[in-house]
C-alpha cells in the first residue's frame, strides 16, 4: 500500500500546519469562523447522520485494489488532502471531518454493498467516490433509496442527473465540443478519425463528437472501437495512414492506451508534426506516467484541468498535494475534480446551515468555489459544474502546456438533444 501512506516527516507536518494557519485569514471569505456551539447538533442533524458536537463523518469509496486502483488512487489522495485542509481551517460548521474509507475493489457489486454499508451502518453525511460509470450506476439505486449524497469526480458520458449525486467532472458535451471547435478553427482540421475503447463512454462521446463535426460541415472518415484491454493496434494504424485524416480523435482507455501510443510512435506517426494531429479526451497526466512522455509528445488533450494550469489557486494546490503525497506525484483532471468534492459539500452544508441531505441538496445549486485549482466553478441546477474547457499540448516530460481555454464557463448539458 505504498501509495496510500502519506510520506509524513515532522517537517512536512509542521509545514502543513503552517499552510493551514496561513489559510486562516481567507476563511473570512467563506463565512467567518464558525463555532460548533452556534449550530447545536440536534438542529443541524435531524435525520440521524453521523454528526456529533465536534465531529462529522464522511465516506470515501474508491477502488484501492483491482484494475481500477490505477486510476482511483489519485482521487483518494485528492479527497484526503481536501478534507485535511478543511479540518485545518476549522472543519464544517465547527466540526472536524472524519472519514471512513471503503474499498470498491474494482468490482461493481462490491461498490453497491460498501455504499450501503456507509449509508446504513455508518450514517455518513456524504460520500466522495466512484470512478467508472459502471460503479456509479451500481451505487445509484443505493444512494437514491437511502437518500445519501455522492460527489462523483470523473468526466463521463452524461445522460444522467440524480438528486443524490453532484458531478464534479465534466459531462461529455462540455469536454468535446470546445475541443473540436478549436482544432477546426485553429488547425484547419477538415477530417476526423474517431477511435475508442468499446464501452459506453467512448461510444457516447464519439456520437456527440460526430454530430458536432457534421454540424460544422466537416467529415468523419472512420470510426472504430476496440475491446477494453486490446493491445494490438497495428491494423487500425494502417487504416489511419490510408485514410489520411487531419485529426485522430482518440478515446482509448486503460492498458490499451499505452499500447496504442507506443505503437503509433513505432509506426512512424510523429505527433509533433500534427499530420495527422492527435486529439484525445482520455489521457491525463496520470495516464502519461504509464505511456511515457516521449511516446505522446505533440498530442493534444481536451479537458478542464491540467497540472500546469497557470493560476494562483492551482500553484497552491499543486504545492500542497506534493507536500502531502510526495514530489514525484502527478495530478490529472479527475484528481482535481475529486479535490472539489469535499469543498463543494462543505460550502453547501454551511449555506444550508445543516447536514441534512435534503437541505444540502437544496443549497447546492449556485454554490461557487472561487479557490478551485481549475479557477472557478459553480454548481448548476442539474448538479453538474459550470467550468471552462481547455486544450493542452503534451510535452515530453509528461506534462501538458495549456494552449487554449474557453472564454466563458461552459454550461453542463447532460441530456444533449437527440440522445435521450
Amino acid at each position: 500500500m505504498s501509495d496510500d501512506t502519506p510520506r509524513k516527516s515532522p517537517i512536512a507536518t509542521r509545514r502543513q500546519v503552517l499552510a493551514g494557519i496561513s489559510a486562516l485569514p481567507f476563511m473570512g471569505m467563506l463565512g467567518g469562523k464558525v463555532n460548533a456551539a452556534d449550530y447545536p447538533t440536534a438542529e443541524v442533524n435531524t435525520t440521524g447522520l453521523a454528526v456529533t458536537d465536534d465531529k462529522v463523518t464522511v465516506g470515501i469509496l474508491h477502488s484501492v485494489t483491482g484494475t481500477m486502483a490505477i486510476s482511483e488512487t489519485g482521487s483518494v489522495q485528492a479527497e484526503k488532502l481536501a478534507i485535511k485542509q478543511i479540518n485545518d481551517m476549522g472543519g464544517v460548521l465547527g466540526r472536524q471531518i472524519d472519514f471512513i474509507q471503503e474499498d470498491g475493489a474494482s468490482d461493481w457489486p462490491t461498490f453497491a454493498e460498501k455504499a450501503k454499508k456507509l449509508l446504513v451502518q455508518d450514517k455518513v453525511a456524504s460520500v466522495m467516490g466512484c470512478w467508472t460509470s459502471a460503479s456509479r450506476k451500481a451505487v445509484l439505486p443505493v444512494f437514491e433509496q437511502y437518500n445519501g449524497m455522492l460527489y462523483y469526480p470523473t468526466f463521463y458520458e452524461g445522460l444522467e442527473e440524480s438528486p443524490n449525486v453532484i458531478y464534479t467532472g465534466q459531462e461529455a458535451t462540455q469536454q468535446i465540443i470546445a475541443g473540436i471547435d478549436w482544432v477546426a478553427q485553429n488547425k484547419g482540421a477538415k477530417s476526423f478519425y474517431l477511435l475508442g475503447s468499446d464501452y459506453i463512454w467512448p461510444r457516447t462521446s464519439n456520437k456527440i463528437a460526430r454530430k458536432h463535426i457534421d454540424k460544422l460541415g466537416l467529415e468523419v472518415v472512420g470510426e472504430e472501437y476496440y475491446p477494453l484491454g486490446h493491445t494490438q493496434f497495428n491494423s487500425v494504424i494502417n487504416k489511419i495512414k490510408l485514410r489520411k485524416p487531419d485529426v485522430i480523435y482518440a478515446i482509448v482507455v486503460g492498458g490499451s492506451n499505452v499500447a496504442f501510443y507506443k505503437q503509433l510512435k513505432a509506426a512512424g506517426i510523429d505527433m509533433t508534426k500534427e499530420k495527422p494531429l492527435l486529439l484525445t479526451i482520455s489521457v491525463t497526466e496520470d495516464e502519461i506516467l504509464g505511456i511515457g512522455g516521449e511516446n505522446i509528445v505533440g498530442a493534444y488533450a481536451c479537458m478542464k484541468y491540467f497540472q500546469s494550469l497557470p493560476n494562483d489557486n492551482n500553484a497552491e494546490f499543486v504545492k500542497a498535494f506534493k507536500e502531502m503525497w510526495g514530489d514525484e506525484i502527478v495530478i490529472g483532471d479527475v484528481t482535481q475534480a475529486a479535490y472539489l468534492g469535499p469543498w463543494l459539500w462543505k460550502m453547501a452544508v454551511e449555506k444550508a446551515g445543516s447536514f441534512d441531505i435534503d437541505k444540502v441538496r437544496e443549497a447546492s445549486p449556485g454554490i461557487e468555489f472561487t479557490k478551485a485549482p481549475e479557477g472557478y466553478v459553480r454548481i448548476h441546477e442539474n448538479h453538474h459544474l459550470w467550468s471552462k474547457t481547455r486544450v493542452g499540448h503534451a510535452l515530453d516530460d509528461g506534462q501538458y502546456e495549456v494552449v487554449f481555454e474557453t472564454e466563458d464557463l461552459v454550461e453542463p448539458d447532460p441530456f444533449p438533444e437527440g440522445y435521450q
Binding site: M1, S2, D3, V64, T65, G66, T67, A69, I70, T73, D198, E223, E224, Y225, Y226, P227, G229, H230, T231, Q232, N234, S235, V236, I237, N238, K239, K241, L242, G255, S256, N257, V258, A259, K262, Q263, K265, A266, A267, G268, D286, E287, I288, L289, G290, I291, G292, G293, E294, N295
Partner: protein, 308 residues
C-alpha cells in the same frame, strides 16, 4: 475500397498489413510458448501466466531505472541484460511456486486452475503493494523506438522486427531443448508415462520443477519484450491471458508445432479482419471461428498420438 486509392498506396498498405499480421503472430507465439510448455507438457493450467510475464516487465523497469542512475553508458543495450534477468526472476519464482504449490496438485489438474488463479490474484496485489497501483513507464533506448521507412508509405516498426527476431530465437531454443537434448527427451518421457519414466530412473520431480521454471522463465522474457508495445502495471498480465489460452488450446495443448500454427492462423485472421471491419467485430468473428473449429476438432489443430 481500392476505388479512392492509387495502386501504389494500396499495395503498400497490403504489405504493411501483412507485416502487422506477422508482428501479431510473433507476439502470440512469444506469449503462448511458456504456457504451451507448462500446459502442454505438464497438464498444469497456469492461470498466473500473465503475472509471470508482468514480473519480467517489472524487472525490465527496475533495470532501466538502475542503469539510468548508475551506468548510463550501458543504456543502449540494457534491454538484453533486462531480458536475461527477467528470465531468471520469473524462472526462479516459477520453480518456487512449483515446489510450494503445483507439485501437490499433479493428480488433480483441474485444481491447478483454481490454485493458480488464486496465485495470480495474490501476485497482482503484491505488485500493487510493491510497485504502486499506477502503471509504470519503461523508457527504451532510442534505437528501439521509431521505424524504418522503406518507401513513402511503408514504414516498418523497429520494435516489431525486434519481437520477431526474439520470437524466432526463443522458439528455436525451446525446440532444440525439447527435441534435441537429453533433458527434452526426459521431459517427453515423463509426459507420456510418468510411472514408467520414474521406473527407468528419471528424476520426475526434478524434471517437473525445471520444466515449470522454464515455462515461467520464457513468460518473463515475453513480458520483458512486451514493455515495448504494451503497458506495465499490476494487472496488465490479464490483458494477455485470454489470447494466450486461446492460442494454446486452439493449437492442441500437447503440441508446440500446433501452438505456432494456431498463433499464425489466429493472428492473420484477426489482423486481416481488423482491417476490413471494426476491432470489436474482428475479435468476435475470430473467437467464433475458433469455437467452431474446436467443436469439430476438440483436441485442437494438432494432436499427439499417445497411449494414455
Amino acid at each position: 475500397m481500392i476505388g479512392d486509392y492509387t495502386l501504389v498506396e494500396f499495395s503498400s498498405i497490403l504489405a504493411m498489413q501483412g507485416f502487422a499480421g506477422l508482428i501479431l503472430f510473433s507476439v502470440f507465439v512469444l506469449m503462448a510458448l511458456g504456457l504451451a510448455i507448462i500446459f502442454g507438457q505438464m497438464g498444469v493450467i497456469n492461470m498466473a501466466h500473465g503475472e509471470f510475464m508482468i514480473l519480467g516487465a517489472y524487472v525490465t523497469w527496475l533495470c532501466s531505472h538502475f542503469v539510468t542512475a548508475y551506468v548510463p553508458a550501458l543504456f543502449p543495450i540494457y534491454f538484453f541484460i533486462a531480458m536475461a534477468l527477467a528470465f531468471l526472476a520469473s524462472g526462479a519464482l516459477g520453480m518456487l511456486v512449483e515446489w510450494a504449490m503445483i507439485r501437490h496438485l499433479y493428480k488433480r489438474p483441474l485444481d491447478t486452475l483454481l490454485a493458480t488463479w488464486g496465485l495470480s490474484l495474490i501476485l497482482q496485489q503484491l505488485y500493487r503493494s510493491v510497485f504502486g497501483a499506477r502503471e509504470v513507464g519503461v523508457s527504451l533506448p532510442d534505437w528501439m523506438m521509431g521505424s524504418i521507412a522503406l518507401t513513402d508509405i511503408i514504414e516498418v516498426p523497429i520494435n516489431g522486427i525486434f519481437v520477431m527476431v526474439l520470437t524466432m530465437l526463443i522458439s528455436l531454443g525451446v525446440f532444440i531443448l525439447m527435441f534435441r537434448s537429453a533433458w527434452g527427451r526426459r521431459v517427453r518421457a515423463v509426459v507420456q508415462n510418468r510411472a514408467m519414466a520414474g521406473a527407468v530412473g528419471i528424476n520426475t520431480k526434478k524434471v517437473d520443477r525445471v520444466t515449470f521454471g522454464l515455462g515461467c522463465g520464457v513468460a518473463g522474457v515475453a513480458g520483458s519484450a512486451f514493455t515495448m508495445i504494451g503497458s506495465t502495471g499490476p494487472t496488465a498480465g490479464q490483458l494477455y491471458i485470454v489470447d494466450t489460452f486461446l492460442v494454446v488450446v486452439f493449437g492442441g495443448a500437447a503440441s508446440l508445432i500446433g501452438t505456432i500454427a494456431s498463433a499464425f492462423t489466429i493472428s492473420q485472421a484477426q489482423s486481416t479482419m481488423e482491417f476490413f471491419m471494426s476491432g470489436s467485430m474482428a475479435k468476435v468473428l475470430t473467437l467464433l471461428t475458433v469455437v467452431g473449429i474446436l467443436m469439430l476438432r476438440p483436441e485442437g489443430l494438432f494432436t499427439l498420438k499417445m497411449r494414455r
